[in-house]
Symmetry: D2
């Protein structure tokens, strides 16, 4: 009787793990670090339940992968034990390269080294530690494995990543409308010419899935308060780096965060700094922000206090762009009010864009398999809800400002 | 301390009733009859959990009405206690005129007297018994009360009837994708110029609501097996009436059903037969069908046995109409097989259409109230999911046949 | 790729069936009849959602059996494919012998032929029709198969029957406190010396299971309104038989029910009447009751109208028995009020007892397997909630009376 | 139309706030700090979903208080608007004095200043800031308000604190068996002679509540892995303070934590240090632990790395105490293995006790109100599950050790 570990999950009931290699990966400090990175960054400022972690999400996606592979095997799709393990490890580690408050900090703190690149670097590092046993997972993640559908399960239009994060995020936020029929979609997956397709009977479930995603974007992920918080963090890091360049003394709460703040050369070969990167998580950032609340720089301390105490910048969304004049006028007003320069006020009054696309058929390609064996993109099916029409992204313009 | 009754409801937790008049209406045999009429007729042949009753649905809609009125009052809408009681009674009784397997039997058994007409007749009868205390409810239901929004809560595009049946039907069928955010929609209702509108923040929830309804139609209400069963019942009643006209002896299991089967004059003034109508429910029909399983008429007994034992006619759905030739050919084949006439075989092989519209802006008019005070139909909002495009009904053609 | 049928279940999500023999059993009219027998008889008079059927319950128990066998196999327990099929069929058919409103009518209508005996008779009949393929299922149900744990999964202290009915009944009634951790209990099942045991880690879950059962008994199954309705049905059948013996004309709505009402010899060999028995379900009884509402006999019509229109006898529960005097006095009062004899009034005023035992260690024997390999009855574990103390049944006395 | 804020809560759906004073309290930095304190400390190491915060819990308890007061008012209990506001603020702030990883750190870091004392101090501070408007809340919390039942709703045997944390903790852990019928219990609350009692009909729900609490204690709160993590944190702080006393250089990641680590005089008057205390939360501790992973002291760095990377001490639970010999022997073995002193090894090998009482009638006093107006303690009711027997606490002994 092999060792089996059962993890309680409020979303799926239980998650079962029974592969010794996967035990070891989960127990590795690199993976455990994901406990300290929130899946939804600042969304909990609006939805207080949304404090779940990237570790929990990746365990959930692993569980869905297990079920998806089972369903496909039951339908006669050939999947070897090694491929099964590979696909499971790939999904487990697909987010391992996320830094603290990832989407927010990627550009500023890591100078644009993308979390997906880091995930691959970290998997390669782990692959060395585990004697090459992660090669299949790396191949699947990088789309080098010949069975395309395995890669599409990890990262495609109906991948288990999205299915888990939509399910989990709607569960923890309490946004009931975000609930998707992941169970039904999984049961309707099939493989056709080596590609992942979905059976005709699931058309309405897929429509529902796309509509739920659309709703989650506008109602949760791009909620104006969430956007304000993320932008404030970006501005904080930018200001901190500016102060450092100007020779002002400033320390992060941890050595690792200090390094990434101050050292500008590391991106030459990020691989050399992976060990340090693996020390970073949300707590470094939050602890640092709290320390900076009392910094002498008005802009830095204002932004930090605002984010720590949830006194956020006001945000307005519009369907048309904000004019340069309006922005500048508001900026000047804040400058006078706080007795800072217009340039500095630009940290407290600024504009931007939020974009989301409901379904882009060129890009996404959800293929529906009909009973007669033909395959059609979901946007081209007669009477479908999802049309060409939705291919163009919806843009909303926002202005954040101190009040 | 007033009497208060608390009813457990798996969908909403608890339903509370605290008005003595409403107690008496609920306790009335006319209302209790709804215990014996399934909300979803034959849907339980596909979704075994879907055996909930019209009584349960109307109690649920009453609960949502209570919450909706509360929300509106909290927003400053003027609603008197009498209007509250009227709206609650109106929704409680809005379905009281449903006969057994209602949609299926309305045309055949009741010669087209529509359940909505019967509901009003029965409310008038009850109004006499309750000394005119139901007048406000009747006025609201009949749209005669000046506050239009009260009528729209009972019967409109975002009425509590739909909200309950979508929630309840998806709950009992287990079709998770049918779940709607009724709670959020209720909280976003408002009144503008006397009409029910929905606040801008609920746009995505309303989209989700319309998509859920669309899904429930095609996946549940118009599921081919459900359609087959309903059509079989219609054919059974038609055949029975034909046999009676031809002088064949035939009895329903109850006196009331016997009356409606055999007497053809009653529709002249249905009001005279309300008492008899109130004896009818699903059990009369099912018990009768079981008795007729052994009737000498091959067609009748075949259809009854099929429906009782869930050996249903096969159904095929197509996007194009079935040709006359194809239908006739299949019909003849069955005639030969069972040694019956082609005419008789027409009871076992027949075609029809199923139609559903996602959202018809001319007809439905879900009005969205923007923060700036303007009101726009949901189909005309920029970037909305629901477009003019969905106004035209989707038709599917089916052929039922004995095999 | 084998045929696979997926059934939506609001309790477990999906139930999957993939064995052609099991398809055929489910499609058989004997099994389909269970669609028309409510799992909880008259409980829906108090809990309007509790209208689920015995068909739904047995499908659910089948699903849990599937999961339980999987878990045991994963733990190294040897279970052949034939045994798996046998256990699944046994649980699917364990309730097939239930008559209409079963517990209520067993004694009166079927003269005490117990539904468990009938289940076995019907399985034997089906075994003939299916060429002996149900023999293993019959052996498991009758405890003749050497692997005792299979029988215990069908009918024991932690069997899947109880686990499903507690889960399902609490789900459909909306009594949240009846929810049990079936999933966790299933995962903790094990086999020790051929017997079903439960791992130490599940002690608290089993305690919770027993407490949930206790709660469901007193709050739902033995709810005074439910008891009143069941007793009224028993009295109705008794009165009908009495009237028939006295030569009064009286007909049931269906031929099958008429037979069991009138023929007193059939119990000699029930096996000869199985075909008739299989025509009986709740609709025969309810349709008959509705017909009898207008019968000339005051007692019969009063009871029928009461049950049909939910104007039930009043019930009082006490911890001490009601005295003969009190009962007789109330009986006489009703006799005078209705102008009937004291004997007849005995149909409308009568007393009885409701009994339930929380856990009887002599009888139930839930065995806990400790990590060190020892096995102990749950009632003998140090600090356990469930003690010897709970072995004695709790009795409550009730008096039903017309008012 | 007053301002109204609606917060999504996955446990209760929506939490509504409509009192401007309560808005201000929630927006206060002292309250917002609770966002950064986990409700269940290290429980998420076993139950990954259990990352909800004290802010979320206190909002949930506030919601239940709102409902409870409503129910009592509906039953005719006199509660003024000022008392309502007081009770709501009292429950909102009842946990505001919790420090980081509260139960674990109270003794070591705050030298035994109990979080309940700190809560009162902080409420008094807020009372000054809010012009005395929190006085009623302070009186209710401190049991000085004459209406005892209000205090009992905040802190009693059936208080909304417990009801929320049991509901919320079982929800986020996914331990379905911890679910309680809070909704039903709330509806059955009543006031008798000024004290909170529960109606007879809720006896089984209260039994279920106590059994759920018992299960949550042994299965979750006192789970051996959770206990190990908490004890490791206590040892880390103790070791750090010892190193500091010995003059070893050591810094916390934040100034506030540094202060409480190093200054030993503050407990003289904790009131002077409230401002500093309000800067502390879980992120200070976790960020500090991460920094200390590389400290030169073997014991400190081992413990920190273990807790950060979830390589916890092994724990064994027994019903009998561990002997001094066994503990010392294991200790010495670790000393030799790591080349440290036996004294130092005592940080890595140590024993302790976990205690929980199911229901202590002397202490807890859940009073049941019978229909006849009498009141009885739940442990003295005939046939109750909860008996005198459960009054004595259950003790389990554990040994933690490095491996």
């Amino acid at each position: 009787m092999a060792l089996r570990k059962i993890i309680n999950d409020p979303v799926y009931g239980f998650i079962t793990i029974d592969d010794p290699l996967i035990f070891k990966i989960i127990a590795h400090p690199y993976y455990q670090r994901l406990r300290r990175i929130h899946q939804m960054a600042f969304a909990s400022l609006v939805y207080p339940g949304a404090v779940h972690t990237r570790l929990h999400h990746s365990l959930g996606a692993y569980h869905l992968m297990h079920n998806a592979l089972n369903e496909l095997r039951n339908k006669g799709v050939d999947i070897s034990l090694e491929e099964e393990r590979g696909a499971k490890i790939a999904i487990l580690l697909h987010d391992i390269g996320h830094g603290p408050y990832s989407h927010a900090l990627e550009r500023k703190l890591l100078k644009g080294v993308h979390h997906e690149q880091i995930s691959v670097m970290m998997m390669e590092l782990l692959n060395q530690q585990f004697d090459g046993k992660l090669q299949m997972a790396i191949d699947i993640l990088s789309s080098k494995h010949p069975k395309q559908f395995l890669h599409q399960l990890v990262s495609g239009q109906l991948d288990v990543d999205r299915m888990d994060y939509l399910s989990r995020d709607s569960f923890f936020t309490g946004v009931a409308e975000g609930v998707i029929g992941y169970d039904r979609i999984l049961k309707m997956l099939a493989v056709h010419n080596g590609e992942l397709v979905i059976e005709e009977k699931a058309i309405y479930s897929v429509e529902k899935f796309l509509v739920a995603r659309r709703l989650m974007y506008w109602q949760v992920y791009l909620h104006k308060t969430v956007v304000a918080a993320e932008k404030m963090l970006v501005k904080i890091i930018k200001r901190a780096q500016e102060l450092l360049e100007n020779g002002i003394e400033l320390h992060a709460a941890s050595e690792a965060l200090d390094f990434f703040l101050k050292d500008h050369q590391y991106t030459n070969d990020f691989r050399n700094h992976l060990e340090k990167f693996c020390c970073l998580d949300d707590t470094d950032v939050m602890c640092t922000l709290k320390n900076w609340c009392n910094h002498q720089d008005v802009v830095l301390s204002l932004l930090c206090k605002g984010l720590v105490n949830r006194r956020l910048l006001k945000v307005e969304f519009r369907t048309e762009p904000f004019s340069k004049e309006e922005t500048e006028e508001k900026c000047s007003k804040v400058a006078r009010q706080l007795n800072i320069s217009d340039y500095e006020a630009g940290y407290l009054v600024f504009k931007g864009e939020a974009v989301n696309t409901t379904y882009n058929p060129n890009d996404e390609r959800i293929k529906v398999l009909f009973k007669n064996g033909t395959v059609t993109d979901i946007s081209k099916i007669q009477n479908a809800l999802i049309h060409q029409h939705f291919a163009s992204p919806v843009k909303k313009y926002y202005l954040c400002r101190f009040e």
